[in-house]
Point group: C2
Chain length 210, copies 2
DNA sequence: TTTTACAAGTTGCACTTGCAACTTTTTTAT
DNA sequence: ATAAAAAAGTTGCAAGTGCAACTTGTAAAA
């Protein structure tokens, strides 16, 4: 993933911050970021440290929406923090930059090279995030766990055409990603195994039908 | 939704087309657009006419992904046409502009005002589309139809806080949007009605619990 | 090493959902 | 105005899924 400041030098970055009337906030480990920065329509960038966007379902379940690291971009338009009951917790000491979306979309900015470079970086970043969203929707649209799994495998395969698929996360997290119950998913993985469509060993899934 | 050409005059638009090495294609009613324009990584704009992005599930179900009208923006990064089995059908005679994404992300473009304005428009358009995607994900993540419906109502309510909610589409389309079986959804709407949480009359849903 | 925590694997059961096959109502086209 | 098509409304049933409550395995902390 591109950095929002790619191809910008320190001087340009400072000019950019002036132009966009940005605010920077410091947070301690475990501090709630959103509480401080919450505002109508914002774009944020992690300048230092790490954080996590999550929310608590009415039943007490915690859903992790996104892990943020240095130069991660998030915000009301750019990620799922339009949800009222979501929170952003600083995982380490951190520094977060906040830009007002309407300040960003001020036509006067276009007179400045450094702004145009910045916008261009943001454009690529959001496009990539958007593509990830659409990928997930294609999975979530499927009505049955089996179809969700097969769709997930297909998408991974189309990005890396190998029979061997290494999960980038735990099975528990896969269940969250495809939004189904963990044991129900596991049962379905077993059925796929029984039908000789896949083999599964730790985080390596072999697609026998490819 | 913003037009990708907002704040650009005809001369600037022509210069932009030269700069980005765009190609424009004409289609007759019912013609398959994707077949012609398909390429690795593209951004497309409807210049004239209407079209529809859809795909056929393995079971024969047709899923409509998006309806395109004049100045709609779509593409591999910008919408769900990374799916191999999807098709784009021209609903009227139409004209489609195709831009190579890598041509778009050529740093040399940044020297031209008209390009920067264009990028700025695209940025806003994709952000809005991205936000819509995330909205839908929040619904699809819910495991039960009842919860999906309540999430849908909540989101609509947060955008327009009125007890009266007017569906922008048919119940059938709502079922597709929240990705559940139509009759099962209807059954659940009836349960919500029985529980006196909602009233429903044609496309008007009254949220009694708000 | 031992303890503790968390992920993986397993199962029964109740409930939810998808699906097929209808009827009825509404909308669109001739 | 009539016919045709599409959407809305209804129901029974089989299959799928969520959930709770476990056991087993594995990795991290004391």
């Amino acid at each position: 993933m591109r950095s929002p400041f790619q191809d910008l030098n320190k001087l340009q970055i400072n000019k950019l911050f002036d132009l966009l009337n940005v605010h920077s906030y410091s947070f301690k480990k475990y501090e709630d970021i959103l509480q401080t920065i919450k505002s109508e329509n914002i774009v944020c960038i992690v300048l230092e440290g790490e954080a996590q966007i999550s929310y608590i379902e009415y039943n007490g379940n915690e859903i992790i929406l996104e892990n943020l690291t240095k130069f991660s971009v998030f915000g009301t338009n750019i990620s799922g923090i339009d949800n009222d009951d979501c929170e952003i917790i600083s995982k380490t000491d951190s520094e977060i930059l906040v830009i007002n979306y309407n300040d960003l979309l001020n036509p006067k900015n276009l007179n400045h090279v450094y702004f145009n470079i910045f916008l261009y970086n943001l454009f690529d970043i959001t496009n990539n995030k958007f593509r990830e969203s659409n990928k997930r929707i294609r999975i979530l649209e499927k009505k049955q766990i089996r179809d969700k799994l097969l769709e997930y495998f297909d998408i991974e395969y189309s990005e890396n055409p190998s029979k061997a698929l290494y999960l980038p996360f735990s099975l528990k997290d896969l269940a969250d990603y495809i939004a189904v119950n963990r044991s129900a998913m596991f049962r379905e993985l077993k059925h796929l195994k029984d039908d000789r469509l896949i083999e599964i060993k730790n985080r390596k899934i072999t697609l026998l039908y490819k």
